[in-house]
């Protein structure tokens, strides 16, 4: 029947992004966004259970630098989250870079995923990036649905920020 679907209502869930320094520590920069997504899918499939998946996500968050308190200003705060998220983007060396932070470790880990996909890419690449992988990772099943939806919204927020730099010289 109509009952069980993960499609969540949009407005309630304008949730939960956070970003660190750009950190191509984990995935080589030269890969395309798509290739990096494929890589993640492979990585995730290696995990036995949800505990490992969460620990992976938390560890990603740990590897990211904290945002200095003075950067955590109101204008960077994304409202409506269970956790607080600060997100900012800047343009450098022909690519968009993100900085973000969160008081939640899991949220922080999740935004780290996105950073790995997007950091340093051109605004155009970011804006056209296909996030269908979110559906494919199985992360949605293994994250709480609010979190899963937060992934979508984080993606939207990051594209939003990239919009400011379209047409910038690379």
């Amino acid at each position: 029947m109509l009952i069980v679907s993960l499609k969540l209502w949009k407005k309630e869930w304008k949730c939960c992004a956070d970003t660190p320094q750009y950190s191509h520590v984990l995935l080589p920069l030269k890969m395309t966004i798509n290739e990096r997504q494929e890589q993640l899918l492979k990585d995730l499939s290696l995990f036995q259970d949800w505990t490992e998946r969460y620990e992976y996500v938390i560890s990603l968050g740990r590897q990211l630098n904290e945002m200095p308190p003075e950067s955590k200003t109101e204008d960077k705060l994304i409202e409506g989250c269970q956790s607080q998220v600060w997100l900012e983007a800047y343009f450098e060396d022909g690519g968009v870079h993100y900085r973000a932070d969160s008081d939640s470790q899991i949220t922080k880990g999740m935004i780290a995923l996105f950073i790995h996909f997007l950091d340093g890419e051109s605004p155009e690449n970011i804006l056209t990036a296909d996030f269908a992988f979110i559906e494919k990772t199985g992360l949605k099943e293994h994250l709480a649905p609010t979190r899963a939806n937060a992934l979508n919204l984080m993606a939207i927020q990051m594209k939003q920020r990239a919009l400011d730099f379209t047409g910038a010289p690379d």
Partner: protein, 410 residues
Amino acid sequence: MSSYDVSAVRSGFPILQHEVHGKPLVYLDNAATSQKPEAVLEVSRHYYERLNSNIHRGTHHLAQEATAAHENARELIARHLNASSAEEIIFTSGATDGINLISSTLGYSGKISPGDVIAISNLEHHSNTVPWQMLCDRSGAVLEVIPVTEEGAIDPVDFDHLLEKTSGRLKVLALTHISNAFGTILPLAQMIESAHRAGALVVVDGAQAVPHLSVDVQKLDADFYVFSGHKVYAPTGIGVLYGKHSLLEELPPWRGGGEMIRKVSYDGTTFNDLPYKFEAGTPNIEGAIALAAALNFLNELGLQNVSNHENAMIRRAADALTSIRGLILYGPSDRSGSLSFNIDGIHHYDLGTLVDKMGIAVRTGHHCCQPLMTRFGITGTLRASFGCFNNEEDVDRLAEAVEKGVEMLR
């Protein structure tokens, strides 16, 4: 009609499997409240057995599932009414609650000033009358009433006359889509267009329309449209208010509490976005989900099939009753949902009592339309009102019971 298998439909309604006064129930009081199909009862039960949890803001699994089900229900309802987005669908506790939400927030908004006009028709249910009287009382606005013809319909000339008379002052036009007392279908599209040209907002009371018609709020161009779940095969305690996004945005919130806020502090509280701004407190979660299931149920039968079938039953009933001396039928011949009548010299309450003893549930009285009864110089009528499951036998037993009752009373 060939494609409509009414006996299959009947078998989906548990209550029809039981007897009243030792006779199979003939339920012809659908305009008061509809019976519930197994398909809907099952969804309610499934909700409580598998999903029940308070929605929004919950991290845990059940809370997420329940939230998803609730918001899917909203989307389904939005599609059913052809709203332009699910944010335009506000859950209420019923049609009455929805009308009061609009009349009260219009009152608080400061949009209604002394001397402004609020217009209704003489066909309106008390629920689409009293809230406007109360708003007039509070704001100094004036209530004007579009008269009904002897046939129980609205004459466009009368409406034009009202528009002229109230020119520049008409702020709100509140109209029923279908009259619950007489089954009259109002020519809404034209009336709404004229009212908009006159600068008025239009509130439509769709309580009797949603069970029988496919409603397209955008095509109608209604500003607000309300209905009740319990009249459309869903449980009691749930209803819907549709409102145009921009208009809902302009109105202040009504009830305060959880859910409808963004941030509460003693220095100042900010309110949530639509639709939550108007949904304070824990909603009727199960009701909303069951309402969506009920609309699904109707859509699976096909609203057009259902109304073709119902209309055939209503015509059959009207034909069968005309053989009774002194029959007075109310409303136009293309009535929808309800057939209202009296027998000259017989009190509707007496006849209704006897008809009930024969296992036929019809309603007697003013049907919450006292001003309409006053207009016709009566205290009430008998009303047989139809649903998707009524069949020819129901109609024949009604006619037989009325005849027998009339005999006893003459």
